[in-house]
Amino acid sequence: MNRRDILKNIGLGTAGVIVSGEAIGQVKPKAATVKEIPEAQDGRLRDEIIHNNKLKAAKFFTVAEMSVITILADIIIPADKTSGSASQAGVPAFIEFIVKDMPQHQTPMRGGLMWLNNESKKMFSKKFVALTSAERLKIVDLVAYPNKAKKEHSQGVSFFNLMRNLTATGFYTSEMGVKDLGYLGNTPNKWDGVPQDVLDQYNLSYKEWEKHAAK
């Protein structure tokens, strides 16, 4: 207790200026070499902004790997009459980011792409990117159906499951994908219950609930 200098008491010391009725964000010493990053911006805190910038600046996949990822993503989610393809929705870039964010996906993805190229060379003596569309599908068909795939392709199946998951998540969380899905929320509104035609479709009503609300 007595070693604590009275001058260090708040109001007199360096920790912050006391103004009654105000918040004191304690003074953070500035690091001269670092570009000024705000305390918070767009809902992210300084440390998160720095962390995200670091992830975005790093590169994981090679150009060759990214082209296979792009081909596979568009095989999994092609353009149709409702919306564009996975690559048009930015899925490859999402996958590049997410493996840096979640390093547990790195080896399964990189190794899976290698597996695919090995299989491709075995079957067609060419790398996957050099195959025709029909040839590519022949390989994809070996691994796209977990229940009927051959045992010797089980690692390929695991890779393709991961690729399918990341592609679908990347697509349906993109602006294009959310629109495609028909999610209509995330906007100010007044909730007044399930639309009548939907209630009718399921043979439900608010009669029971109204008994609660009336009490």
């Binding site: 260090k8 229940n147 998540t169 906007t187």
Partner: protein, 579 residues
């Protein structure tokens, strides 16, 4: 109340409060309104859910590079909590063979920023459990003692719900309840068959404007913080208004180390570490109120050792840190086939369920004590990271839009359509129950470990007993009954004895309470019934610490009511010059 005054002394506050969550926020609100000069220490940064730089509300999933995944924040990028179960440089330890995960939010408002807003009063039995089943202890107060304070909390903060007249789930002063969503109507129907009572939720979102705060606009994103202040968080509803009185001095990024005392044992203030300068600083107060969270407040007390308090402050009884208990939790989800190919409409609603099931059974016919409530999830929710995962486990089992059961997995246009077809077909159920407070579940100071501020850390020792495991088993059986009655198909396999029936590790439900318990016997409790330390007259604890037992209800509404009650007691004592 306006004449609440302690003679002003230079640099001595009337009250120092540690922590800005539900308990600290309520005390600051009440005491500053009454004219006291209050200093609040908060270990994290400033937060105002209406300040654009902090806002995540109404962002689309693509606005997060990880699509809202939980890599950085425990509940995902858009969640309001700054903190989590693990915080860099702020470790805690566990005794061998025991578990406890400790969630901390380092920010103004603490965990009230991201909480579920489930706002339940404890019932008459919840204060007198020992008298009911012989386990644990009775509270030194009753529901009747608390009812007027619950009323005040309802009126000040706002809670929606419906009057049900249930014996142990007392009604609040309710705002109108929102109508159930489609799956919630289905649950109400299904539970007529199972007998699981299912009623409108009781949650603190404003379905009508209240006390100058805006009305809910039904984005379903309360956990991100509300720019309209239309839900309860301590930051927006209590601390920011307290600051507007001009009587509150808020010091952010102040990591409290210990409560200081004089030679008579009276509290004189709090010492803290300025997290940026790493300087140790003291703030003096005539009254000290701890509201740092049940475990953080007991850590502070246990670290406040002196020659007259060798076991830590307010701990002559030795109970500080003991009787730690969190809610039990187990969950299950299911696929509802008749919800495929749903018509699209906005059913975000409030940020959480519109119906729930309070405990509905009689324990005398069951093999475990105490009860649980069930929370329900589902609907056409905003997609985020993880959306569509595991389609290969779904699209080979159930017919698609054209009525064919396909080979599982696949790719291409047909797969793309499956994500649309199966969207919004899952429902989730989570049980949240009451654990028994036991002396041998505790936190204590680890003799070997300090955090990066040099403050000795907590070591936890917590094990579930058979009571809680049996309760989780009952939850799982109930979930399957409900799923069956819904015509649904349960996802995954039913959690069995090998996983304690899916019982979550203690601390995971983030309802931990009991470590600075109140009681009439100073030998068996740290606080009296007014949240005042038996040993230190001018020291109070107003977070989850004072709880004697936790009930099958979320603790926040009771923390708020207890803190309000303690604040009123403090004002009365100051007026009577007894403090």
């Amino acid at each position: 109340m306006k004449d609440f005054q302690i003679k002003e002394q230079a640099n001595v506050f009337d009250v120092v409060i540690v922590g800005s969550g539900a308990g600290g926020g309520m005390a600051a609100y009440q005491l500053t309104k009454a004219g006291a000069k209050v200093c609040m220490l908060e270990a994290g940064g400033y937060f105002d859910p209406a300040d654009p730089k902090y806002i995540n509300q109404l962002k689309g999933p693509w606005e997060s590079p990880r699509r809202g995944a939980s890599t950085v924040r425990a509940f995902g990028d858009f969640d309001a909590a700054w903190g989590g179960w693990e915080i860099e440089g702020e470790p805690y330890t566990r005794k061998k063979g025991t578990e406890f995960d400790w969630f901390r939010s380092r920010m103004l408002g603490g965990r009230t920023n991201h909480w579920g807003r489930i706002s339940l009063r404890f019932g008459p039995k919840d204060f007198k459990r020992k008298s009911v089943d012989g386990l644990g202890d009775d509270w030194p107060i009753s529901y009747d003692d608390m009812a007027p304070y619950y009323d005040e909390v309802d009126k000040l903060i706002g809670v929606f719900g419906t009057k049900e007249g249930l014996s142990n789930d007392p009604d609040s002063i309710f705002l109108p309840a929102p109508k159930p969503r489609l799956h919630e109507l289905m649950l109400m129907e299904a539970n007529k068959k199972t007998g699981v009572l299912t009623i409108p939720s009781r949650m603190s979102m404003l379905t009508k404007p209240l006390n100058g705060r805006g009305e809910c606009f039904y984005c379903g994103q309360c956990s991100r913080g509300c720019m309209a202040y239309a839900d309860f968080s301590s930051s927006s509803v209590l601390v920011i208004p307290a600051m507007k009185t001009g009587n509150l001095t808020l010091i952010n990024n102040a990591m409290a180390r210990e409560v200081l005392t004089d030679e008579t044992g009276k509290a004189t203030g709090v010492s803290y570490v300025n997290k940026y300068t790493l300087e140790e600083t003291t703030v003096k107060g005539k009254i000290v109120i701890l509201a740092a969270s049940a475990c953080e407040s007991s850590r502070l007390l246990l670290n406040s050792k002196s020659s007259i308090n060798p076991n830590g402050l307010a701990n002559a009884s030795g109970v500080v840190g003991k009787y730690l208990h969190d809610s039990t939790g187990a969950s299950r989800s299911a696929f509802i086939p008749h919800l495929t190919n749903r018509k699209r409409y906005n059913e975000d609603g409030v940020g959480g369920m519109h119906v729930y099931s309070p405990w509905w059974l009689d324990n005398s016919k069951l093999d475990f004590p105490r009860g649980y409530h069930i929370e329900y999830g589902g609907g056409q929710r905003m997609p985020g990271y993880g959306f569509g995962f595991g389609m290969e486990n779904v699209n080979g089992k159930y017919p698609d839009r054209s009525g064919n059961v396909k080979e599982a997995g696949g790719y291409g246009a047909s797969l793309k359509d499956d994500y649309r077809f199966f969207y919004g077909t899952d429902i989730g159920m989570a049980g949240r129950g009451e654990a028994i407070a036991r002396e041998d579940n505790y936190c204590e100071i680890d003799p070997n470990v300090v955090d990066k501020w040099g403050i000795p850390v907590l070591r936890f020792n917590y094990k579930w007993s058979d009571h809680e495991v049996k309760q989780a088993k009952h939850m799982q059986d109930t979930f399957e009954e409900i799923i069956h009655a819904l015509g649904g198909i349960a996802n995954g396999t039913k959690p069995g004895a090998d996983t304690n029936y899916g019982l979550a590790a203690p601390g995971r439900i983030i309802h931990e309470v009991g470590t600075v318990r109140m009681g009439n016997d100073p030998g068996k409790s740290a606080l009296n019934k007014n949240c005042q330390a038996h040993d230190v007259k001018n020291l109070f604890v107003v977070d989850g610490g004072p709880f004697v037992s936790q009930a099958d209800k979320n603790p926040t509404w009771t923390i708020l009511a207890l803190s309000l009650r303690a604040s009123e007691f403090i004002m009365k004592e100051v007026k009577a010059k007894s403090l």
